[in-house]
Protein backbone atom coordinates (compact mmCIF):
# COMPACT_ATOMS: atom_id res chain seq x y z
CA UNK A 1 0.00 0.00 0.00
CA UNK A 2 2.58 2.53 1.03
CA UNK A 3 6.01 2.51 -0.50
CA UNK A 4 8.84 3.40 1.86
CA UNK A 5 10.16 6.21 -0.34
CA UNK A 6 6.86 7.92 -0.95
CA UNK A 7 6.66 9.78 2.31
CA UNK A 8 8.02 12.99 0.79
CA UNK A 9 4.61 14.43 0.04
CA UNK A 10 3.63 14.10 3.64
CA UNK A 11 6.82 15.68 4.92
CA UNK A 12 6.38 18.65 2.62
CA UNK A 13 3.00 19.13 4.02
CA UNK A 14 4.17 19.13 7.59
CA UNK A 15 6.94 21.59 6.86
CA UNK A 16 5.10 24.19 4.89
CA UNK A 17 3.85 26.06 7.91
CA UNK A 18 0.35 24.73 7.83
CA UNK A 19 -2.05 25.57 10.60
CA UNK A 20 -0.85 24.86 14.07
CA UNK A 21 -2.11 21.67 15.52
CA UNK A 22 0.28 21.72 18.37
CA UNK A 23 -2.48 21.16 20.88
CA UNK A 24 -3.18 17.70 19.63
CA UNK A 25 -1.45 15.10 21.63
CA UNK A 26 0.13 12.44 19.51
CA UNK A 27 0.50 14.51 16.39
CA UNK A 28 3.46 16.73 16.98
CA UNK A 29 5.30 18.54 14.28
CA UNK A 30 7.65 15.59 13.86
CA UNK A 31 7.24 12.54 11.73
CA UNK A 32 4.08 10.61 12.46
CA UNK A 33 4.53 7.24 14.09
CA UNK A 34 4.85 4.81 11.27
CA UNK A 35 2.81 1.69 11.49
CA UNK A 36 5.30 -0.63 9.89
CA UNK A 37 4.12 -2.82 7.11
CA UNK A 38 4.61 -6.40 8.16
CA UNK A 39 7.33 -7.23 5.65
CA UNK A 40 9.37 -4.08 6.08
CA UNK A 41 9.40 -3.97 9.83
CA UNK A 42 12.15 -6.43 10.51
CA UNK A 43 14.57 -4.79 8.09
CA UNK A 44 13.77 -1.30 9.36
CA UNK A 45 14.33 -1.71 13.02
CA UNK A 46 16.23 -4.91 13.29
CA UNK A 47 14.12 -6.20 16.12
CA UNK A 48 12.78 -9.71 16.13
CA UNK A 49 9.28 -10.22 14.93
CA UNK A 50 6.76 -10.10 17.75
CA UNK A 51 5.49 -13.48 18.69
CA UNK A 52 1.76 -12.95 18.22
CA UNK A 53 0.49 -12.12 14.75
CA UNK A 54 0.03 -8.37 14.19
CA UNK A 55 -3.31 -7.14 15.55
CA UNK A 56 -5.96 -7.05 12.94
CA UNK A 57 -6.23 -3.67 11.33
CA UNK A 58 -9.15 -2.57 9.29
CA UNK A 59 -8.24 -2.16 5.68
CA UNK A 60 -9.20 1.20 4.24
CA UNK A 61 -9.86 1.60 0.58
CA UNK A 62 -8.94 4.76 -1.30
CA UNK A 63 -12.50 6.19 -1.40
CA UNK A 64 -12.86 5.76 2.35
CA UNK A 65 -9.49 7.37 2.99
CA UNK A 66 -10.42 10.24 0.73
CA UNK A 67 -13.71 10.69 2.53
CA UNK A 68 -11.78 10.86 5.80
CA UNK A 69 -9.62 13.80 4.74
CA UNK A 70 -11.90 16.45 6.25
CA UNK A 71 -12.22 14.63 9.57
CA UNK A 72 -8.49 13.97 9.52
CA UNK A 73 -7.62 17.62 8.92
CA UNK A 74 -9.83 18.54 11.86
CA UNK A 75 -8.29 15.80 14.04
CA UNK A 76 -11.77 14.35 14.31
CA UNK A 77 -11.13 10.71 13.46
CA UNK A 78 -9.78 7.74 15.38
CA UNK A 79 -6.06 7.12 15.81
CA UNK A 80 -6.14 4.12 13.42
CA UNK A 81 -7.91 6.14 10.80
CA UNK A 82 -5.46 9.00 11.17
CA UNK A 83 -2.56 6.62 10.75
CA UNK A 84 -4.13 5.01 7.72
CA UNK A 85 -4.76 8.40 6.14
CA UNK A 86 -1.21 9.51 6.82
CA UNK A 87 0.22 6.40 5.25
CA UNK A 88 -2.02 6.86 2.29
CA UNK A 89 -0.88 10.44 1.80
CA UNK A 90 2.59 9.14 1.15
CA UNK A 91 1.44 7.28 -1.91
CA UNK A 92 -1.39 9.37 -3.27
CA UNK A 93 -0.45 12.80 -4.58
CA UNK A 94 -4.03 13.91 -5.15
CA UNK A 95 -5.04 13.15 -1.59
CA UNK A 96 -1.84 14.75 -0.25
CA UNK A 97 -2.65 17.96 -2.14
CA UNK A 98 -6.15 17.99 -0.84
CA UNK A 99 -4.98 17.21 2.69
CA UNK A 100 -2.67 20.21 2.61
CA UNK A 101 -5.44 22.47 1.36
CA UNK A 102 -7.89 21.26 3.99
CA UNK A 103 -5.39 21.68 6.80
CA UNK A 104 -4.77 25.25 5.71
CA UNK A 105 -8.51 25.76 5.67
CA UNK A 106 -8.73 24.59 9.28
CA UNK A 107 -6.43 27.47 10.16
CA UNK A 108 -9.03 29.86 8.76
CA UNK A 109 -11.72 28.68 11.14
CA UNK A 110 -12.15 31.34 13.74
CA UNK A 111 -14.49 31.49 16.63
CA UNK A 112 -17.14 33.98 15.59
CA UNK A 113 -16.53 37.21 17.44
CA UNK A 114 -19.18 38.17 19.88
CA UNK A 115 -21.40 40.32 17.77
CA UNK A 116 -22.87 42.49 20.44
CA UNK A 117 -23.40 45.46 18.22
CA UNK A 118 -23.75 48.71 20.06
CA UNK A 119 -27.50 49.35 19.78
CA UNK A 120 -26.75 53.05 19.48
CA UNK A 121 -24.92 52.33 16.25
CA UNK A 122 -28.20 51.62 14.48
CA UNK A 123 -29.55 55.06 15.35
CA UNK A 124 -26.31 56.78 14.38
CA UNK A 125 -25.97 54.95 11.07
CA UNK A 126 -29.58 55.49 10.07
CA UNK A 127 -29.41 59.16 11.02
CA UNK A 128 -26.32 59.71 8.90
CA UNK A 129 -27.99 57.97 5.96
CA UNK A 130 -31.17 60.02 6.24
CA UNK A 131 -29.20 63.27 6.47
CA UNK A 132 -27.28 62.45 3.32
CA UNK A 133 -30.40 61.51 1.41
CA UNK A 134 -33.65 62.63 3.01
CA UNK A 135 -36.24 59.86 2.70
CA UNK A 136 -39.25 60.35 0.50
CA UNK A 137 -41.25 58.11 2.86
CA UNK A 138 -39.96 58.74 6.39
CA UNK A 139 -40.82 56.72 9.47
CA UNK A 140 -43.16 58.96 11.48
CA UNK A 141 -41.65 60.47 14.64
CA UNK A 142 -44.20 58.61 16.78
CA UNK A 143 -43.18 55.24 15.32
CA UNK A 144 -39.45 55.77 15.81
CA UNK A 145 -39.48 54.45 19.38
CA UNK A 146 -41.21 51.24 18.27
CA UNK A 147 -38.71 50.85 15.43
CA UNK A 148 -35.78 51.29 17.82
CA UNK A 149 -37.14 49.12 20.65
CA UNK A 150 -38.08 46.18 18.42
CA UNK A 151 -34.59 46.34 16.89
CA UNK A 152 -33.02 46.33 20.37
CA UNK A 153 -35.07 43.35 21.50
CA UNK A 154 -34.31 41.49 18.29
CA UNK A 155 -30.60 42.09 18.84
CA UNK A 156 -30.92 40.72 22.38
CA UNK A 157 -32.52 37.54 21.01
CA UNK A 158 -29.79 37.16 18.38
CA UNK A 159 -27.55 34.67 20.15
CA UNK A 160 -30.14 32.90 22.28
CA UNK A 161 -29.90 29.12 22.38
CA UNK A 162 -32.67 26.77 23.44
CA UNK A 163 -31.85 27.24 27.11
CA UNK A 164 -32.49 30.95 26.83
CA UNK A 165 -35.63 30.61 24.74
CA UNK A 166 -37.16 28.35 27.36
CA UNK A 167 -35.94 30.28 30.39
CA UNK A 168 -38.85 31.02 32.72
CA UNK A 169 -40.16 34.57 32.83
CA UNK A 170 -42.75 35.95 35.19
CA UNK A 171 -44.96 38.63 33.66
CA UNK A 172 -46.03 41.13 36.29
CA UNK A 173 -48.75 43.75 36.28
CA UNK A 174 -51.42 45.31 38.48
CA UNK A 175 -55.04 44.32 38.39
CA UNK A 176 -57.16 46.57 40.55
CA UNK A 177 -54.70 47.24 43.32
CA UNK A 178 -53.37 43.70 43.31
CA UNK A 179 -50.00 42.72 41.94
CA UNK A 180 -50.62 39.89 39.46
CA UNK A 181 -48.17 37.54 37.80
CA UNK A 182 -48.28 34.98 35.04
CA UNK A 183 -45.59 32.42 34.33
CA UNK A 184 -44.28 31.92 30.82
CA UNK A 185 -40.97 31.59 28.99
CA UNK A 186 -38.84 33.88 26.86
CA UNK A 187 -40.52 32.45 23.76
CA UNK A 188 -43.89 32.92 25.49
CA UNK A 189 -43.10 36.61 25.97
CA UNK A 190 -42.36 37.02 22.27
CA UNK A 191 -45.63 35.23 21.49
CA UNK A 192 -47.34 37.75 23.80
CA UNK A 193 -45.77 40.70 21.97
CA UNK A 194 -46.71 39.13 18.62
CA UNK A 195 -50.34 38.70 19.72
CA UNK A 196 -50.75 42.20 21.12
CA UNK A 197 -48.87 44.00 18.35
CA UNK A 198 -51.34 42.10 16.21
CA UNK A 199 -54.10 44.43 17.48
CA UNK A 200 -52.41 47.26 15.62
CA UNK A 201 -51.67 45.04 12.63
CA UNK A 202 -55.32 44.04 12.28
CA UNK A 203 -56.50 47.65 12.56
CA UNK A 204 -54.10 48.56 9.75
CA UNK A 205 -55.39 45.76 7.54
CA UNK A 206 -52.37 43.47 7.97
CA UNK A 207 -52.67 39.75 8.69
CA UNK A 208 -53.73 38.75 12.18
CA UNK A 209 -50.96 36.64 13.75
CA UNK A 210 -53.72 34.75 15.57
CA UNK A 211 -55.07 33.60 12.23
CA UNK A 212 -58.29 31.65 12.84
CA UNK A 213 -57.64 31.22 16.54
CA UNK A 214 -60.70 32.54 18.34
CA UNK A 215 -60.11 34.92 21.21
CA UNK A 216 -62.96 35.62 23.63
CA UNK A 217 -62.40 39.35 23.50
CA UNK A 218 -59.93 41.38 21.50
CA UNK A 219 -57.97 42.50 24.56
CA UNK A 220 -54.22 42.10 24.95
CA UNK A 221 -54.61 39.45 27.68
CA UNK A 222 -57.31 37.43 25.92
CA UNK A 223 -55.44 37.43 22.65
CA UNK A 224 -52.27 36.30 24.35
CA UNK A 225 -53.98 33.49 26.24
CA UNK A 226 -55.72 32.40 23.04
CA UNK A 227 -52.41 32.31 21.18
CA UNK A 228 -50.72 30.32 23.95
CA UNK A 229 -53.65 27.89 24.16
CA UNK A 230 -53.81 27.35 20.41
CA UNK A 231 -50.38 25.81 20.08
CA UNK A 232 -50.05 22.26 21.34
CA UNK A 233 -46.52 22.86 22.47
CA UNK A 234 -45.06 25.74 24.41
CA UNK A 235 -43.81 28.49 22.11
CA UNK A 236 -40.30 28.06 20.76
CA UNK A 237 -37.76 30.25 19.05
CA UNK A 238 -39.92 29.87 15.96
CA UNK A 239 -42.00 32.84 17.17
CA UNK A 240 -39.12 35.21 16.60
CA UNK A 241 -39.40 35.40 12.81
CA UNK A 242 -43.16 36.16 12.67
CA UNK A 243 -42.84 38.68 15.50
CA UNK A 244 -39.98 40.45 13.72
CA UNK A 245 -41.70 40.34 10.37
CA UNK A 246 -44.84 41.84 11.84
CA UNK A 247 -42.91 44.60 13.62
CA UNK A 248 -41.12 45.48 10.39
CA UNK A 249 -44.45 45.46 8.55
CA UNK A 250 -46.00 47.75 11.15
CA UNK A 251 -43.20 50.32 10.82
CA UNK A 252 -43.45 50.11 7.08
CA UNK A 253 -47.24 50.41 6.99
CA UNK A 254 -47.49 53.36 9.37
CA UNK A 255 -44.90 55.16 7.23
CA UNK A 256 -47.43 55.14 4.44
CA UNK A 257 -50.32 56.43 6.57
CA UNK A 258 -48.90 59.94 6.36
CA UNK A 259 -49.29 62.71 8.94
CA UNK A 260 -53.03 62.44 9.60
CA UNK A 261 -53.07 58.66 9.89
CA UNK A 262 -51.70 58.84 13.39
CA UNK A 263 -55.13 59.70 14.77
CA UNK A 264 -56.81 56.57 13.48
CA UNK A 265 -58.29 54.70 16.48
CA UNK A 266 -56.83 51.30 17.41
CA UNK A 267 -59.24 49.16 19.44
CA UNK A 268 -57.69 47.44 22.47
CA UNK A 269 -60.93 45.72 23.46
CA UNK A 270 -61.72 47.83 26.51
CA UNK A 271 -60.57 51.14 25.06
CA UNK A 272 -59.13 52.74 21.94
CA UNK A 273 -55.83 54.46 21.44
CA UNK A 274 -55.00 56.68 18.48
CA UNK A 275 -52.46 54.97 16.23
CA UNK A 276 -49.57 57.23 17.24
CA UNK A 277 -50.18 56.46 20.93
CA UNK A 278 -50.71 52.77 20.22
CA UNK A 279 -47.28 52.65 18.57
CA UNK A 280 -45.75 54.33 21.62
CA UNK A 281 -47.59 51.91 23.86
CA UNK A 282 -46.21 48.99 21.87
CA UNK A 283 -42.70 50.47 22.04
CA UNK A 284 -43.08 50.77 25.80
CA UNK A 285 -44.29 47.17 26.15
CA UNK A 286 -41.49 45.97 23.94
CA UNK A 287 -38.89 47.60 26.17
CA UNK A 288 -40.54 46.42 29.39
CA UNK A 289 -40.67 42.83 28.18
CA UNK A 290 -37.17 43.02 26.73
CA UNK A 291 -36.12 43.87 30.28
CA UNK A 292 -38.10 40.92 31.64
CA UNK A 293 -36.28 38.70 29.16
CA UNK A 294 -32.88 40.20 29.88
CA UNK A 295 -33.45 39.65 33.61
CA UNK A 296 -34.50 36.06 33.00
CA UNK A 297 -31.29 35.23 31.14
CA UNK A 298 -29.08 37.57 33.14
CA UNK A 299 -28.08 39.88 30.30
CA UNK A 300 -27.65 43.61 30.73
CA UNK A 301 -30.20 45.78 28.96
CA UNK A 302 -30.25 49.56 28.82
CA UNK A 303 -33.27 51.86 28.95
CA UNK A 304 -34.44 53.43 25.67
CA UNK A 305 -32.76 56.54 24.33
CA UNK A 306 -33.80 59.71 26.21
CA UNK A 307 -35.83 60.95 23.24
CA UNK A 308 -37.88 57.77 23.13
CA UNK A 309 -38.12 57.44 26.88
CA UNK A 310 -39.53 60.96 27.01
CA UNK A 311 -42.31 60.09 24.59
CA UNK A 312 -43.21 56.98 26.55
CA UNK A 313 -43.37 58.94 29.80
CA UNK A 314 -45.47 61.56 28.05
CA UNK A 315 -47.94 58.90 26.92
CA UNK A 316 -48.28 57.56 30.46
CA UNK A 317 -48.68 61.08 31.86
CA UNK A 318 -51.42 61.80 29.33
CA UNK A 319 -53.23 58.58 30.23
CA UNK A 320 -53.17 59.29 33.97
CA UNK A 321 -56.27 61.52 34.19
CA UNK A 322 -58.45 58.86 32.54
CA UNK A 323 -56.94 56.15 34.72
CA UNK A 324 -57.74 58.26 37.78
CA UNK A 325 -61.33 58.66 36.66
CA UNK A 326 -61.67 54.90 36.11
CA UNK A 327 -60.31 54.18 39.55
CA UNK A 328 -62.70 56.66 41.09
CA UNK A 329 -65.63 55.06 39.30
CA UNK A 330 -64.50 51.67 40.54
CA UNK A 331 -64.31 53.03 44.08
CA UNK A 332 -60.55 52.52 44.18
CA UNK A 333 -59.58 56.17 44.37
CA UNK A 334 -60.72 58.52 47.08
CA UNK A 335 -64.08 60.08 46.24
CA UNK A 336 -62.49 63.47 46.25
CA UNK A 337 -64.13 65.41 49.05
CA UNK A 338 -62.32 68.52 48.02
CA UNK A 339 -63.01 67.79 44.44
CA UNK A 340 -63.88 70.74 42.30
CA UNK A 341 -65.90 70.02 39.26
CA UNK A 342 -64.69 72.16 36.43
CA UNK A 343 -65.98 72.65 32.95
CA UNK A 344 -64.15 70.85 30.16
CA UNK A 345 -60.97 72.61 29.16
CA UNK A 346 -60.90 74.71 32.34
CA UNK A 347 -57.94 74.54 34.71
CA UNK A 348 -58.47 72.11 37.61
CA UNK A 349 -56.73 70.79 40.69
CA UNK A 350 -53.41 69.40 39.52
CA UNK A 351 -50.43 67.36 40.55
CA UNK A 352 -47.01 68.30 39.28
CA UNK A 353 -45.24 65.19 38.04
CA UNK A 354 -41.54 65.87 37.82
CA UNK A 355 -39.56 63.18 36.04
CA UNK A 356 -35.84 63.32 36.60
CA UNK A 357 -33.03 62.02 34.48
CA UNK A 358 -32.57 61.96 30.74
CA UNK A 359 -35.87 61.82 28.96
CA UNK A 360 -37.59 63.50 31.87
CA UNK A 361 -39.60 66.67 32.15
CA UNK A 362 -42.62 68.07 33.99
CA UNK A 363 -46.28 67.30 33.55
CA UNK A 364 -49.30 68.82 35.26
CA UNK A 365 -51.84 66.08 35.84
CA UNK A 366 -55.45 67.26 36.25
CA UNK A 367 -56.82 65.31 39.20
CA UNK A 368 -60.56 65.69 39.06
CA UNK A 369 -61.51 65.12 35.46
CA UNK A 370 -59.77 63.99 32.30
CA UNK A 371 -61.43 66.93 30.59
CA UNK A 372 -59.86 69.51 32.89
CA UNK A 373 -56.63 71.25 32.07
CA UNK A 374 -53.55 70.80 34.22
CA UNK A 375 -52.79 74.07 35.96
CA UNK A 376 -49.82 75.34 37.91
CA UNK A 377 -52.05 77.73 39.83
CA UNK A 378 -54.16 74.85 41.10
CA UNK A 379 -51.21 72.66 41.98
CA UNK A 380 -51.94 70.70 45.18
CA UNK A 381 -49.09 68.20 45.13
CA UNK A 382 -45.67 67.62 43.64
CA UNK A 383 -44.13 64.22 42.95
CA UNK A 384 -40.58 63.75 41.70
CA UNK A 385 -39.18 60.46 40.47
CA UNK A 386 -36.67 59.05 38.09
CA UNK A 387 -37.82 58.36 34.54
CA UNK A 388 -36.97 54.67 34.51
CA UNK A 389 -38.53 54.23 37.96
CA UNK A 390 -41.71 55.91 36.74
CA UNK A 391 -41.83 53.58 33.73
CA UNK A 392 -41.37 50.54 36.00
CA UNK A 393 -44.24 51.83 38.11
CA UNK A 394 -46.42 52.25 35.04
CA UNK A 395 -45.40 48.77 33.91
CA UNK A 396 -46.55 47.28 37.21
CA UNK A 397 -43.02 46.21 38.09
CA UNK A 398 -42.76 48.46 41.15
CA UNK A 399 -45.62 48.60 43.66
CA UNK A 400 -46.88 52.18 44.08
CA UNK A 401 -46.22 52.04 47.83
CA UNK A 402 -42.57 51.33 47.11
CA UNK A 403 -41.93 53.72 44.26
CA UNK A 404 -39.00 55.89 45.22
CA UNK A 405 -40.66 59.24 44.85
CA UNK A 406 -40.08 62.61 46.45
CA UNK A 407 -43.46 63.90 47.55
CA UNK A 408 -44.81 67.26 48.67
CA UNK A 409 -48.44 68.25 49.22
CA UNK A 410 -51.79 66.46 49.24
CA UNK A 411 -50.94 62.88 50.24
CA UNK A 412 -54.21 61.47 48.99
CA UNK A 413 -53.73 62.99 45.56
CA UNK A 414 -50.20 61.59 45.43
CA UNK A 415 -51.35 58.13 46.45
CA UNK A 416 -54.12 58.19 43.84
CA UNK A 417 -51.76 59.23 41.07
CA UNK A 418 -49.15 56.59 41.94
CA UNK A 419 -51.82 53.87 42.04
CA UNK A 420 -53.31 55.18 38.81
CA UNK A 421 -49.85 54.91 37.23
CA UNK A 422 -49.60 51.27 38.34
CA UNK A 423 -53.10 50.63 36.97
CA UNK A 424 -51.85 51.55 33.49
CA UNK A 425 -50.06 48.20 33.50
CA UNK A 426 -51.63 45.12 32.00
CA UNK A 427 -50.51 41.79 30.80
Amino acid sequence: MSGPDASGAYDDHEDDGGPDHGDEPGRGPGRPPRIPMPRASVEDNGLPLPAPPPPERPVFEHPVLKSLLGAWALAACSAEEATAVEEHLGSCGACADEARRLREAVGLLQRPESLDLDPGLRTRVLETCLERRPPRIPVPEWAAAYDAETARLDALLQDFGDAEWHAPVRLRWFHGDEATTRRTTVAGVIAHLLSVDGLVAVALGLDDPLGDVPSARPTPAERTEAFWRASHFPPTRAVRAPWREQSHNLVRTVSFTGGGGGRMPIPYGDFDLPLHDAMLDRAFECWVHAEDIADAVDYPFDPPSPRHLHRMIDLAARMLPTALAHRRQAGLAAPAHHRHLVAAGEPGRSLRLEIEGSGGGEWLIPLDSPAAKGSAEHEVAHVALDGVEFCRLAAGHVPPQEAAAGQVGDREAIRDVLFAAASLSRM
Partner: protein, 193 residues
Amino acid sequence: MAKRDVPPRWDRKMQQRLARGEAAALGELYDRFASLVHGLAHRVLGDESAADRITREVFVHVWEHPDSYDPKDGPLRTWVAGLTHRLAVQRLRATETAALARDGSGTAEELEQRVRSAAVAARADYIVQSMPVPLRSALERAYFQRRDYRQAAADLGITEDEARRRLRLGLQLLSTAHDTEAPGAPPGSGGAA
Protein backbone atom coordinates in the same frame (compact mmCIF):
# COMPACT_ATOMS: atom_id res chain seq x y z
CA MET B 1 -33.06 25.15 -3.07
CA ALA B 2 -33.01 24.49 -6.79
CA LYS B 3 -33.40 28.20 -7.39
CA ARG B 4 -30.42 29.25 -5.35
CA ASP B 5 -29.03 31.41 -8.12
CA VAL B 6 -32.16 33.46 -8.59
CA PRO B 7 -32.02 36.41 -6.22
CA PRO B 8 -34.86 36.01 -3.80
CA ARG B 9 -37.86 38.25 -4.08
CA TRP B 10 -36.83 39.98 -0.85
CA ASP B 11 -33.67 41.32 -2.50
CA ARG B 12 -35.53 42.78 -5.45
CA LYS B 13 -38.23 44.36 -3.32
CA MET B 14 -35.64 45.77 -0.93
CA GLN B 15 -33.76 47.36 -3.80
CA GLN B 16 -36.98 48.93 -5.12
CA ARG B 17 -37.99 50.20 -1.69
CA LEU B 18 -34.57 51.76 -1.12
CA ALA B 19 -34.71 53.38 -4.53
CA ARG B 20 -38.14 54.74 -3.65
CA GLY B 21 -36.66 56.42 -0.58
CA GLU B 22 -38.47 54.37 2.06
CA ALA B 23 -36.77 54.94 5.42
CA ALA B 24 -38.41 51.81 6.85
CA ALA B 25 -36.60 49.75 4.21
CA LEU B 26 -33.28 51.17 5.33
CA GLY B 27 -34.03 50.03 8.90
CA GLU B 28 -34.86 46.53 7.68
CA LEU B 29 -31.70 46.43 5.60
CA TYR B 30 -29.67 47.38 8.65
CA ASP B 31 -31.40 44.78 10.82
CA ARG B 32 -30.63 42.06 8.33
CA PHE B 33 -27.03 42.90 7.48
CA ALA B 34 -25.51 45.04 10.24
CA SER B 35 -23.92 42.17 12.12
CA LEU B 36 -22.52 40.70 8.90
CA VAL B 37 -21.09 44.06 7.85
CA HIS B 38 -19.71 44.92 11.25
CA GLY B 39 -18.26 41.44 11.75
CA LEU B 40 -16.45 41.44 8.40
CA ALA B 41 -15.13 44.95 8.90
CA HIS B 42 -13.93 44.02 12.36
CA ARG B 43 -12.18 40.92 11.05
CA VAL B 44 -10.25 43.01 8.53
CA LEU B 45 -9.52 46.04 10.70
CA GLY B 46 -9.43 44.51 14.17
CA ASP B 47 -10.80 47.66 15.68
CA GLU B 48 -14.24 48.42 17.02
CA SER B 49 -14.55 52.06 16.06
CA ALA B 50 -13.03 51.48 12.64
CA ALA B 51 -15.62 48.74 12.10
CA ASP B 52 -18.35 51.16 13.19
CA ARG B 53 -17.15 53.65 10.60
CA ILE B 54 -17.12 51.07 7.83
CA THR B 55 -20.61 49.97 8.84
CA ARG B 56 -21.78 53.54 8.45
CA GLU B 57 -20.05 53.92 5.09
CA VAL B 58 -21.60 50.72 3.76
CA PHE B 59 -25.16 51.66 4.67
CA VAL B 60 -24.70 55.24 3.51
CA HIS B 61 -23.47 53.91 0.19
CA VAL B 62 -26.39 51.53 -0.28
CA TRP B 63 -28.91 54.18 0.76
CA GLU B 64 -27.39 56.86 -1.48
CA HIS B 65 -26.85 54.58 -4.45
CA PRO B 66 -29.51 51.88 -4.29
CA ASP B 67 -29.19 51.42 -8.05
CA SER B 68 -25.60 50.28 -7.78
CA TYR B 69 -26.99 46.90 -6.73
CA ASP B 70 -28.49 44.93 -9.58
CA PRO B 71 -30.47 41.92 -8.38
CA LYS B 72 -29.43 40.11 -11.56
CA ASP B 73 -25.86 40.01 -10.29
CA GLY B 74 -26.73 37.80 -7.34
CA PRO B 75 -27.94 37.96 -3.79
CA LEU B 76 -27.95 41.29 -1.98
CA ARG B 77 -26.18 39.64 0.94
CA THR B 78 -23.20 38.75 -1.23
CA TRP B 79 -23.13 42.19 -2.73
CA VAL B 80 -23.21 43.88 0.66
CA ALA B 81 -20.45 41.56 1.89
CA GLY B 82 -18.35 42.41 -1.16
CA LEU B 83 -18.85 46.14 -0.67
CA THR B 84 -17.89 45.82 3.00
CA HIS B 85 -14.84 43.80 2.13
CA ARG B 86 -13.70 46.35 -0.43
CA LEU B 87 -14.19 49.36 1.84
CA ALA B 88 -12.56 47.64 4.83
CA VAL B 89 -9.50 46.47 2.89
CA GLN B 90 -9.18 49.94 1.36
CA ARG B 91 -9.27 51.45 4.83
CA LEU B 92 -6.74 48.97 6.16
CA ARG B 93 -4.36 49.67 3.30
CA ALA B 94 -4.75 53.42 3.77
CA THR B 95 -4.06 53.32 7.54
CA GLU B 96 -1.16 50.90 7.16
CA THR B 97 0.34 52.99 4.37
CA ALA B 98 0.04 56.12 6.48
CA ALA B 99 1.73 54.33 9.38
CA LEU B 100 4.49 53.12 7.09
CA ALA B 101 5.10 56.64 5.79
CA ARG B 102 5.03 58.07 9.31
CA ASP B 103 7.42 55.82 11.17
CA GLY B 104 8.85 53.71 8.39
CA SER B 105 8.27 50.51 10.33
CA GLY B 106 8.08 47.42 8.18
CA THR B 107 8.25 47.18 4.45
CA ALA B 108 5.73 47.61 1.70
CA GLU B 109 5.85 43.87 1.21
CA GLU B 110 4.93 43.17 4.82
CA LEU B 111 2.11 45.63 4.47
CA GLU B 112 0.74 43.82 1.44
CA GLN B 113 1.08 40.55 3.32
CA ARG B 114 -0.95 41.88 6.25
CA VAL B 115 -3.62 43.27 3.93
CA ARG B 116 -3.77 39.96 2.08
CA SER B 117 -4.14 37.83 5.18
CA ALA B 118 -6.78 40.17 6.63
CA ALA B 119 -8.66 39.85 3.35
CA VAL B 120 -8.42 36.05 3.40
CA ALA B 121 -9.57 35.93 7.03
CA ALA B 122 -12.60 38.07 6.24
CA ARG B 123 -13.42 35.98 3.18
CA ALA B 124 -13.18 32.83 5.28
CA ASP B 125 -15.59 34.30 7.83
CA TYR B 126 -18.04 35.11 5.11
CA ILE B 127 -17.76 31.62 3.64
CA VAL B 128 -18.41 30.02 7.01
CA GLN B 129 -21.42 32.24 7.60
CA SER B 130 -22.88 31.64 4.18
CA MET B 131 -22.27 27.93 3.83
CA PRO B 132 -25.25 25.61 4.14
CA VAL B 133 -26.18 25.11 7.79
CA PRO B 134 -25.56 21.32 7.76
CA LEU B 135 -21.95 21.90 6.75
CA ARG B 136 -21.46 24.67 9.23
CA SER B 137 -22.87 22.74 12.15
CA ALA B 138 -20.67 19.75 11.34
CA LEU B 139 -17.59 22.00 11.30
CA GLU B 140 -18.63 23.66 14.55
CA ARG B 141 -19.04 20.30 16.24
CA ALA B 142 -15.68 19.03 15.05
CA TYR B 143 -13.64 22.16 15.49
CA PHE B 144 -15.09 24.24 18.30
CA GLN B 145 -16.60 21.44 20.36
CA ARG B 146 -13.80 18.97 19.58
CA ARG B 147 -16.17 16.14 18.76
CA ASP B 148 -14.84 13.42 16.48
CA TYR B 149 -16.84 12.68 13.36
CA ARG B 150 -18.64 9.72 14.93
CA GLN B 151 -19.81 11.86 17.84
CA ALA B 152 -20.71 14.65 15.44
CA ALA B 153 -22.76 12.18 13.39
CA ALA B 154 -24.61 11.09 16.53
CA ASP B 155 -25.15 14.72 17.62
CA LEU B 156 -26.56 15.66 14.26
CA GLY B 157 -28.53 12.47 13.68
CA ILE B 158 -26.72 11.62 10.46
CA THR B 159 -24.64 8.65 9.29
CA GLU B 160 -20.92 8.57 9.83
CA ASP B 161 -20.43 8.65 6.06
CA GLU B 162 -22.46 11.82 5.90
CA ALA B 163 -20.53 13.40 8.76
CA ARG B 164 -17.24 12.72 6.95
CA ARG B 165 -18.67 14.09 3.75
CA ARG B 166 -19.86 17.31 5.43
CA LEU B 167 -16.56 17.96 7.16
CA ARG B 168 -14.64 17.48 3.94
CA LEU B 169 -17.02 19.58 1.86
CA GLY B 170 -17.08 22.33 4.48
CA LEU B 171 -13.30 22.58 4.50
CA GLN B 172 -13.19 22.48 0.71
CA LEU B 173 -15.51 25.48 0.59
CA LEU B 174 -13.48 27.25 3.23
CA SER B 175 -10.23 26.67 1.37
CA THR B 176 -11.53 28.80 -1.50
CA ALA B 177 -10.94 31.83 0.76
CA HIS B 178 -7.34 31.67 -0.47
CA ASP B 179 -8.42 32.11 -4.06
CA THR B 180 -7.79 35.68 -5.05
CA GLU B 181 -10.95 36.10 -6.97
CA ALA B 182 -12.94 39.31 -6.87
CA PRO B 183 -13.56 40.03 -3.21
CA GLY B 184 -17.01 39.09 -2.09
CA ALA B 185 -17.71 36.88 -5.04
CA PRO B 186 -20.09 34.14 -4.04
CA PRO B 187 -18.26 31.40 -2.20
CA GLY B 188 -19.52 29.14 -4.93
CA SER B 189 -18.59 25.52 -5.17
CA GLY B 190 -15.02 25.91 -6.32
CA GLY B 191 -13.00 22.95 -5.16
CA ALA B 192 -16.02 21.16 -3.83
CA ALA B 193 -15.63 18.25 -6.18
